[in-house]
Amino acid sequence: MMKNNILELKDITKVFPGVKALDNVDFSLKKGEVHALVGENGAGKSTLVKILTGVYQPNEGLIFFNNQKISLLNPREAFTYGINVVHQERNLVPTFTVAENIMIEQYCEKMTSTINQKKINQDAKKYIDLVGLDIEPTKNVEELSVGKKQLVEIAKALSSDAKILLLDEPTASISVKEAEDLLELIRKLRDKGVTFIFVSHKLEEVFAIADTVTVLRDGKNVKAAGINDVYVPIKDLTRDQLITMMVGRTKEFKAFEDRDFSDKEIVLEAKMLRSVDSPKPKSFKIYKGELLGWYGLVGAGRTEFARTLIGYDPPIEGEEFINGEKVVVKNIKQMQNKHKLYYLSENRKEEGLFLDHTIKVNISSSILNKIKNRLGMLNFKKEQEVANKFKEELDIKTPSINQVVNNLSGGNQQKVSLAKGLSVEPDIFIIDEPTVGIDIKTKAEIHRLMYNLTKEGKSIICITSDMQEIIQIADRIVVFKAGKIKGELKNTKVYGEMSKRIMKLIMD
């Protein structure tokens, strides 16, 4: 335990049903430093952040603040210790002005206090200037850009005397210029004595701004080769070392065989396709029987592009070809039934499943047309057959198919979601983040399943932010960044080489 650690977490373990999110994790924070918390999607970053901010409590482990043992039972308690968070989603009152948002804690302390608008604007101006925002305190927050809103939140945190400022993926949805300004601001504030926790998976930023770094992978701390501390000053690391720590191969790496598709038919092709939510034109193609990986960081625009392809957000420009034929994309139903293109959402709970309904009902929800007879009545026997078939095939662990999906574990829920998609017998299957939050055994099962599907001649687009996963299973990898396709790589399945090439495409 170092003496000038303002915050220290030791041996933190956090378990959810079926998944160990954090496994004996250590985290130390020195006063006045910018400490980066780094790791891929699903590495445990957000769980650690939730423990730091009092949203979750660890199953095991201790938290020390200024060498005193504390517990953070709710977000307000974390706040009293001066731990302020600027989340990925905005937490401002949109109808208030900038000043009203910044000073909200102060004037809402007592119900009977009077509002002195002038004083609020004046006090707020101090913090507005501190963060370098060039706007009037009386501007309405809802009219600001995302980047400026973020600065307002930082100003708000500073106004309540924040000692530790935790920024969660702050540059995820702001422009390049705004990101640069933000990094400059962080430097300035650090020099004034504010301590930062900077959560990110953008390595170029980490190198630009951080003093020290903690890397997480699969819920555990990762040590740099040759260094015995989990808490590492950035200046002691090379770029390559950090990349290896973040995406380095673990023992369980087992790739599928190499396959070549250059002589096969193209089942889906997009040419300069763009839509309302996916405005930058993109082109790619996928062959019959291929497992194509779409890699990118969170916010890279892959999901939006998928939504364009399937008709949820139909294209406004460009062309889409299925099996060589040009398609006029109208809606999901058409793409599903006529063109056998199915999309499985990454948010299985919010967009993929009917949580209050049973497994059986969920699986049949996409093929209602196929299990009905002439009068529009459901054929229960057939529905049961289909559900049981997938229960067997996917090994869904449940006492009965009449179980309500909400009660299943994450892995089993994902299997139900997959079954729902498979029931349509798609020729092209877009699966978004298939194994996020799922235990290793089920992960392997799902990988094997996807591979087998491609052997049967189906094509799969696997959208994932898990470097190891994509190098294990994909035949080719398309790399996305900020809404654009940066490049396409043939996957040699050699981990070190592929991960470097992918990261290079992203970091350029």
Binding site: D356, H357, S366, L368
Partner: protein
């Protein structure tokens, strides 16, 4: 511990309300002289049949995850159309009924269309449309009463078929049709899927918009049916038909197990809920409570229904302890 037994009663939706109903009827038979009389039972059963249909009307919209505040207004409009057709145009009552049902369906469908198109909250749209429809109704008919209802039409409400009141048969048939719809048809599934999670329904290839429009249309249709039957029972068509329906339309389905959050309906439960509301009101009459307090009771029961609904919902999304058969009853 009390919570646990309460939970057990609430959990098995139908058992709970059936038990309470049986208890209520038993107590009433024992302690009041009027409950079990032929006249009283006849009146109760007739009222409960109509209220069951009103309850079904709201239940359909609840099933798709929305609310229909215009049940009374749509009923009123359909009712007046029926009155006009019967009295002013002398149209045979079967056709008048069918036209009224169609009017109800159209008014409801329009409402659903607006909701889907504008993406504005169903609550405010149905609230505003309720006054539009009601205002239109009042203005167009100048608040007339239509009293020359053909006797053959009135006979529907008065008559018995093999000893069972025709009204009850109507409500049973309606219940049967909707039970089949929600339990056995693809359309019903689509509505319920949209009710649980409209976005997931879209991704699954189910058009949530058309499910919503249809549900509102059906809701309007049922409101029209209830109105038409009320005219038959009253022997007159007046604009006040439907004005008291809003509360009952919520209380009946919620007491019977339909969830406010959508995706789970109970046809039988709605009928039992309507029965409960009718019998409780009847009880108040028999016990001698002044008729003026009835509305207060209804409101209180509705609050109770909300509390029960909240308990059900928290149990449904609980930590996996409880296994409730989701979907349809």
């Amino acid at each position: 511990m009390f919570k646990r037994t309460l939970g057990k009663i609430v959990r098995n939706d139908l058992a709970g309300i059936t038990f309470i109903l049986v208890l209520l009827c038993t107590l009433l038979t024992i302690f009041t002289s009027g409950f079990f009389s032929a006249y009283n039972l006849d009146s109760v059963i007739k009222n409960m049949s109509i209220f069951a249909i009103v309850g079904l009307s709201q239940m359909v919209t609840l099933g798709v995850g929305q609310f229909n505040l215009a049940v009374g207004a749509i009923g009123g409009c359909a009712g007046m159309v029926c009155g006009v057709l019967l009295e002013l145009m002398g149209i045979p009552y079967v056709i008048a009924m069918i036209v009224s049902l169609a009017v109800g369906f159209l008014l409801g469908y329009f409402q659903g269309f607006l909701i889907v198109k504008t993406k504005i909250n169903a609550f405010i749209i149905t609230l505003a449309l309720a006054s539009v429809y009601h205002g239109l109704n009042m203005t167009a008919t100048e608040n007339r009463f239509f009293r020359n209802i053909p006797n053959s039409f009135k006979a529907i409400a008065k008559g018995n078929l093999w000893g069972i009141p025709v009204l009850l048969i109507f409500s049973f048939i309606t219940m049967l049709i909707f039970w089949i719809l929600f339990n056995r048809t693809v359309t019903g599934r689509r509505i319920l899927a949209t009710g649980v999670n409209a976005k997931a329904a879209d991704y699954a290839g189910i058009d949530s918009g058309s499910a919503i429009r249809l549900a509102h249309g059906l809701s309007g249709l049922l409101a029209g049916l209830a109105a038409v039957l009320t005219i038959s029972k009253l022997g007159a068509a007046q604009t006040s038909i439907g004005s008291t329906w809003l509360l009952i339309s919520f209380a009946a389905p919620i007491l019977g197990g339909t969830l406010l959050s959508g995706g789970k309906v109970s046809i039988v439960g709605t009928f039992l809920g309507a029965a409960f509301m009718t019998i409780i009101t009847n009880a108040l009459v028999l016990v001698g409570v002044s008729f003026y307090w009835f509305q207060a009771f209804t409101g209180g029961i509705l609050l109770l229904a909300f509390a029960v609904n909240k308990i059900r919902e928290t149990m449904n999304t609980g930590e996996g302890r409880v296994l409730i058969k989701g979907g349809i009853v």
